[in-house]
Symmetry: C2
Subunit: 562 residues, 2 copies
């Protein structure tokens, strides 16, 4: 494989006139933050602009964006941003990009644009949108685009074919190949076949499930487990799911209707998205089934279905609040909770905690671990191989996945006959140039993580997080030293204030001698202004604590002249 990780990469040279440069700015080596820039003839086309959700070692961070710095000086050259589908990891960064240039045209399917428009409205941005559909084509600057329907865990996904003089590049977006999709909108293998006959020079292909052998079950295969819940639940049924998984929710609504239950949506994003889905015809709710959840409080409990957010254990979502007894809806013995969703790696602990709390409340919790209530939204190895074989791409660049997924997907491509050195394992920021029909890694641009923290973008850094991690491990010790400026010695007994540090203040008093020594040494070196004294004290007290307690709290010294 042509592997960016084992190469020494520098900034790429100028792109040849008839070449296309493909630069993934996020989504390689991670699930999330998907963003790819296609450059041709001096113009840029962006495909997707998502967010990544932080992990535990990134405390206090709301979301993580791709680094726009590689294109920041060229925003006027951007001819448009195409969104493959409406998931956060593909659209969540759009508001931040549009804040840098408001009039970038946003292109996508009807549902995708409805979801991004609702999100942009919260940011008070009214985007310039262009609605497209599977089979459609459009010319955007030097790019000839064609769209192909793909099936995924949100309706109305699109793959994109990009034609320029450099060749034909296809990006699948997130997709799978459910052969019995609820909306009968299949992944358009015929289009993939036509692209293949024309000759695909480079395929960017979804890697998420490349390690999973075989084929996914169909969304419809969840019917038996959902039916079992509705047939046997004695009291209320509470269903949690992603607020964008319209087909999953359609199945729940249909089961509720069949069993004479009412349905209410709970949670702001669920209510908003299902409103959009009903308005646009993506979700069909039989007359009389949908009611406001407050009305359900007095309804016969065996006639109640609540559909809520929080399937990933998000602490502020409806399900977590129910589990904590912190929601209007109080769960009790006999209630059934159906978690009809995936278990995204990293969320397991939060989800298990909620399952256990719900169980403690007496609820019967049906989840992925004990019933067939979820299928993935991403093609398994068997499906990926179908795509490679019908498209026969000359080169393949696995995208949307961690390193192990990219590698596994690359190996599938090789098994279908793609030449080994035409399988390109890039990382975020790796530039891949398609010149004379041959795709090669050409360099590396900046593509670090950009943290959104409160109202700031990019202000929190790895250094900030390093300090937070240190604070969380051992807390903070504040040292107040009243220093006689004439002698640079302590004028009073030093004070210690601690938070999150377990050793009592009195036990720190032994540090007074350490402080005197630090002061004397600083004076001797002539490094004795207040800031220098503070850093000397902090350093020496930190060492003293590490030696004594084998713990490394953050030490902040405050020096005040006596």
């Amino acid at each position: 494989m042509h592997n960016a990780h084992t190469m020494n990469l520098t900034a790429p040279k100028q792109l040849p006139k008839n070449g296309m440069r493909i630069t993934p700015l996020g989504g390689l080596g991670e699930i999330g933050r998907n963003m790819t820039v296609f450059e041709f003839g001096g113009k840029l086309l962006i495909v997707d602009c998502g967010v990544l959700f932080p992990e535990e070692h990134q405390p206090g961070i709301d979301v993580i964006l791709a680094d726009f710095s590689a294109i920041r000086n060229r925003l006027q050259d951007v001819v448009g941003i195409f969104l493959t589908h409406g998931h956060e990891d593909h659209i969540g960064g759009v508001p931040y990009l549009l804040k840098e240039r408001r009039d970038i045209p946003v292109i996508g399917s009807k549902l995708t644009l409805a979801f991004i428009s609702a999100k942009l409205q919260e940011h008070r941005i009214k985007p310039k949108t262009i609605t497209v559909e599977g089979g459609g084509t459009m010319k955007l600057g030097p790019f000839e685009l064609e769209f192909a329907a793909v099936n995924h865990s949100i309706p109305d996904g699109l793959a994109i074919a990009i034609r320029t003089a450099a060749g034909l590049v296809v990006a699948t977006g997130d997709f799978k190949m459910d052969q019995f999709p609820l909306d009968n909108r299949l992944t358009d293998l015929r289009a993939f076949g036509r692209f293949g006959e024309e000759g695909v020079d480079l395929l960017l292909s979804d890697s998420t499930n490349a390690e999973v052998p075989g084929f996914l079950a169909s969304e419809r295969d969840l019917i038996p487990a959902i039916e079992t819940v509705f047939r046997t639940a004695p009291r209320r049924i509470i269903v949690s799911s992603f607020a964008s998984h319209i087909h999953r929710i359609q199945q729940v609504v249909d089961a509720a209707h069949a069993h004479g239950r009412k349905v209410a949506f709970v949670g702001r994003s669920m209510v908003r998205n299902m409103g959009i889905a009903v308005d646009l015809g993506y979700l069909t709710i039989p007359r009389g089934v949908l009611v406001d959840f407050k009305k359900l409080m007095n309804t016969d409990e065996s006639k109640v279905t609540l559909i809520c957010t929080g399937s990933q254990g998000e602490p502020m979502a409806a399900l977590a609040r129910m589990a904590n007894g912190d929601h209007q809806i109080r769960l009790t013995e006999g209630d059934t909770v159906l978690m009809a969703s995936s278990l995204i790696p990293g969320n397991e602990n939060a989800i298990y905690t909620i399952i256990n709390k719900l169980t403690d409340l007496g609820a019967n919790v049906v989840h992925k671990g004990n019933a067939k209530v979820h299928v993935s939204g991403h093609a398994s190895a068997g499906e990926l191989v179908y795509c490679y074989n019908i498209m026969k791409p000359r080169a393949v660049m696995p995208v949307h996945g961690e390193a192990k997924h990219l590698r596994a997907n690359g190996q599938l491509a090789i098994r279908t006959g793609v030449a080994e050195n035409n399988v390109i394992i890039a990382k975020d920021g790796t530039t891949v140039d398609l010149v004379d029909g041959v795709a090669r890694i050409s360099g590396q641009v900046s593509a670090g993580l950009v943290f959104v923290d409160g109202q700031t973008v990019g202000r929190a850094t790895e250094e900030t997080l390093g300090a937070r991690r240190q604070l969380s491990e051992a807390g903070v010790v504040v040292v107040l030293a009243i220093v006689d400026p004439a002698t640079t010695t302590l004028a009073e007994v030093p004070e210690f204030i601690t938070r999150g540090f377990i050793h009592d203040v009195p036990t720190l008093d032994g540090a007074a001698g350490v402080i005197e020594k630090a002061l004397a040494a600083a004076k001797k070196q002539g490094r004795d202004d207040v800031e220098q004294l503070e850093s000397a004290i902090a350093r020496e007290v930190g060492r003293h604590i590490a030696r004594t307690y084998r713990r490394e709290p953050v030490v902040v010294a405050v020096v005040v002249d006596a």
Copy 2:
């Protein structure tokens, strides 16, 4: 079910003379920290004393112990502690218990005692031990004990039957029922049958896999996947596993030998435990196969197998250090890493990070997610049902598991015919009294989490962790206020020092007015000693920051008289 969670429990009344009290002090509602106290005739028998490993929301904590306070005043009544097997979650707390009373007899199988003795030696404790084996019996105070072999993911596990005038109680310990165990030591179903014929009044049964339908594969069923690795790996093979999973390691050693590879152990606990296992005859290494890993550095790489620690992503273990390029052993393209281990919930992120880093280095990583390289150590539902049916216990108390596991195990018991109100869902500290052959919840004793943090036991509290979590979310802001004591007003511009907080110090200067107001209000209320001023300033600056930035750092105010 007889569910402690839905009852209002108070301290239990005195135990009737011929009754037995069973008090789980850990292991219910969590995987870990297993400890159960059996009381009869004024004497106490302890079964297991393990640790629980902290989760992300418990930063800086080394391990978590059971709360010994319920038995602290009765340590002289303890006739012994029986250890079912040698895993940390069953033995890790023993050193801390023995520090409270050194001469408590420690009872267990040969391997279990070898492992706990090695651990106690590190704590400079020489325990009083009694070695027992499957089929053996002993009298310990008023308790008549009988032991039965069980199969688990560590050799030499034992179930225990406890006979008193109160009846017959059986505790399975952690177990499964591999019908083709590597050491041919089957879980002793015959003994379970004999106990059943005698009449089991209460069964404490392992719940970990009660939600998993069917039967586990055999340890031997991993041979094909392990063989594939050894047949195809072009260069070095690095195997990670638990340092106690002797049978897994035996299989790797056998495969290495069959393929003409040498084996070296890497990592302190791996080297120590495998030394014990070889010495006691639990691990067989053909002559000439084992070498010191430093010798392997210059050996033909296709002849090398390294067996190391770190299968759970532990950051200081050998595998993580190799992944970070921070170990003598430098992995490169063509090396194969076999992670022959489970993926303990909560460790996923750490493990996936390592897999991805190893993949980036060019290694082929074979793990549970892409090959059959692991079977669990805990009986699945099918196996548990066999036990219920052969033992026909009158009452069942599911143990070793989270709430969902306990509930699922209870439901299995009910399906085999155990009366619903004889299935006892206890929580940590719930006392269960067996009187006249009937087991009933009788009350609740203290059973909180006891944190080991550095050299301290029980000093870190939930409050400490709350402060650490707050610090990790938004950092710390130290405010230095030089106050004129005559007027209780600021004598100088206040100083702000921040760590892990993202807003620059200058932007905090607006807080000076807030500080003046806080000082004025404190003065007016007569609450104006230094500590009161500090807490008033911290509170108001905290509110100011929350209003302004929607972030809640820890605020520490230091007031110094001008």
